[in-house]
Symmetry: C2
Subunit: 408 residues, 2 copies
Amino acid sequence: MAYTLADVQQLDRHDPLADYRQRFSLPDGVIYLDGNSLGALPRSVRARMDEVVATQWGEGLIRSWNTHDWIDLPGRVGDRIGRLIGAGPGTVTVADSTSVNLFKALGAALRLRQDRRVILLEAGDFPTDAYIASGLAELMGKGHEVRLVAADELAAALGPEVAVLLATEVNYRTGARLEMAGLTAAAHAVGALTIWDLCHSAGAFPVDLGAADADFAVGCGYKYLNGGPGAPAFIYAAARHHAGMRQPLTGWLGHAAPFSFAADYSPAEGIARMRAGTPPILSMQALDAALDAFEGVDLRAVKAKADRLFDLFTGEVAGLGLGLATPTDPGRRGTQVSLRHPEAYAVMQALIGRGVVGDFREPDILRFGLTPLYLRFEDVWNAARVLCEIIATSAWDRPEFRRRAKVV
Amino acid sequence: MAYTLADVQQLDRHDPLADYRQRFSLPDGVIYLDGNSLGALPRSVRARMDEVVATQWGEGLIRSWNTHDWIDLPGRVGDRIGRLIGAGPGTVTVADSTSVNLFKALGAALRLRQDRRVILLEAGDFPTDAYIASGLAELMGKGHEVRLVAADELAAALGPEVAVLLATEVNYRTGARLEMAGLTAAAHAVGALTIWDLCHSAGAFPVDLGAADADFAVGCGYKYLNGGPGAPAFIYAAARHHAGMRQPLTGWLGHAAPFSFAADYSPAEGIARMRAGTPPILSMQALDAALDAFEGVDLRAVKAKADRLFDLFTGEVAGLGLGLATPTDPGRRGTQVSLRHPEAYAVMQALIGRGVVGDFREPDILRFGLTPLYLRFEDVWNAARVLCEIIATSAWDRPEFRRRAKVV
């Protein structure tokens, strides 16, 4: 170990982001390196939820759709997320899940490129993106091809047959980050549209959809945005597409006048046409309250601290001989560390048993999320120390840490 | 007024369902006749939500997907709803919104009837059903026709060209109830499949999907099931369809092995293949807690009390000369009263101003939901009394009750 406890405590004392940790409610005895699966609980959520349940729902009942403006909540929360991802007001709405939003964005994009048949994705991305693309292609029955290529071949694979590049900015397994602006420009150069999946980007580091000239984007509310388990997702469309875009999930709350109960569907103006059914207000209120944790936060500083945590962690475990799956160039990665170990599942179980919570990802990845708003240098140093002990003593090699036959 | 206050208080004293009202938290000064838009708050919800937020999320963090079995929550809550609608274990899952579930059910049904091109609906149903059907038909581009006919012409409209009858059991405006078993049999006789929209049925009266031999069904969690604003919806598929059905929203949580992150989509066994993305756990936990209010409840007794409330209310307002849009035959209606008045919007505003909360529905409908678990005879009698006063004194004819130019 290169650092001492005193060293890292010194780093924490001089950390300009240190106070943000007070915005979160964190359990004792746990070092939580899984905020990229489920973000920690912001303190603002608990009181909000009780107020929403007891007062807005319990007392206000149906009237709260107006008096507490539930009806515009998806757009209001969307605008708050927009400020974290370089999206202007009125270009983001919260709605549904990431998977369902991918379907809507891809449906809209393919309708804008009806003469093309290829949907280009990175092989090895989080699989729901390809699943959704395949499901949509099969439903449309027009011979669309879901073409999967390696990350470093995406640019070369862009050609006149490509309708849409559907790319996740940060790979969920490796943490490698694609170059959004460059790939978007390359896609546009061949006449293709882009859909960016920001599940491992939004809230982790500065994203600038506007500067990248992105067409569509989707992302998740429950990872770095800390919106709670299964928090509603978001969807972005560049303003230039609003008038022409049509998405296929034409539910009543995407209608121009939902309460006119008209016989024919007429899409709402702007991003609101990306809505479908009635949204889960309780979960959306939790996400809204959670976003308070980002008030006043500079995401450049968040990424800078994440990079220092990355260096600390990878430096401390460098002697273990584990493969590093994440790029060392800070500009080429998000804010996670992915290490390879042939018995990664058992190692992660042993870590969790010691209170260090990360993720195992098939087939051999130990995944650690770095969330600077609530992680201290001391936490990351301690996690590295525990990992070193587990590897050094082969503490993972016990029956209770072995995988069961079928992982669910 | 035919009844006196003493009369209706006597009815409440002898009401076998009277104690269930204690299961709800109700605001003072309000007579709530809008439980068919947003159900009242069950007392079980508030503590559950706080426990889920503070303990399951805040303390358990990602581990709660296993330790609190969030992963199987959609099926567990689905089974609880199944018991209210005559659906066996493993045939209902909670997921998404009603609109999105309609898309999935219709996509699956059309795939099972690929040689047919007509989707039959009731004209004047809640419009999201036809919107979704049109959106799906347009996306598929195979010439499907969304055919809307009057309720009493549905049976005659069933022919060999009909792929699916998509019917809402209880009409949201009139409260008229279709004959589910008979229409399902008629659909099957011509080789068509059925999708039943139970938004105004589930939790209101006994539904028996099994006895009706229904193929698919969807419904809403936030009306009679009291699951909270925008509560997740549910979807049912008869077990006989499970092996063969494929739905188009092929998100990762409908995969047979979501955590294997396989490249190709392979649908889960059973109703779980109707899932798409990560579900909103907070909203779903509220729905689960809300269903405690139905424990030990006999829905036959609920319908019987709703019918007595219907007779009381319509009898008390009979002298006003308002048109009754709801059928008088208890077997032909759900549990609402819909009255017509040319200035229904203003009348409803005046009612709400007096603490009697119902709905206005275009163009001339005053809609009152009868929810016997938390409504007393005295409440309904008082609501009728206020309506009589408002009509007798033309108290609705004031500037503040007039419609604004654009209703949102």
